[in-house]
């Protein structure tokens, strides 16, 4: 599990500590990865879209999930693990 947003290291550190996340939160401050994964359209986009990708062991995307429903998203992902 890898989280990713356009936040700074300090912002993501506070986020991880608050919720006790034990997985890495990646700091895509340049939006390069966001753009590669179409979670951003422009380097100046303020926020990433709520996209979740399941990447298979072969390096290909197995599932692409677009949801504005965080609870549903979490439930969907838990089924995968």
């Amino acid at each position: 599990m890898l989280g990713i947003s356009f936040d700074t290291q300090a912002e993501n550190k506070a986020f991880a500590e608050k919720f006790g996340y034990d997985f890495p939160l990646l700091c895509d401050t340049e939006r390069t990865v966001g753009i590669a994964y179409k979670a951003a359209d422009h380097p100046k986009d303020k926020y990433a879209k709520r996209y979740t990708y399941v990447i298979g062991a072969d390096g290909k995307i197995e599932q692409a999930i677009d949801t504005k429903d965080p609870a549903g998203q979490a439930a969907e992902l838990l089924k995968q693990l």
Binding site: L2, N12, Y53, I55, I61
Partner: protein
């Protein structure tokens, strides 16, 4: 968004603890890549 079956773009980024994380280091494992809009917001 990228469609299933697409080769996942490789990346290398720092995480919240300053560690370098590369997608290529996860090879052979399934990875969930969760984009969220803003730290400390629901979802």
């Amino acid at each position: 968004m990228l469609q299933a079956g697409t080769v996942a773009p490789l990346f290398e980024l720092k995480d919240h603890l300053g560690r370098t994380v590369k997608l290529s280091d996860q090879k052979g494992k399934r990875v969930v890549l969760w984009f969220y809009p803003k730290a400390d917001t629901p979802g």
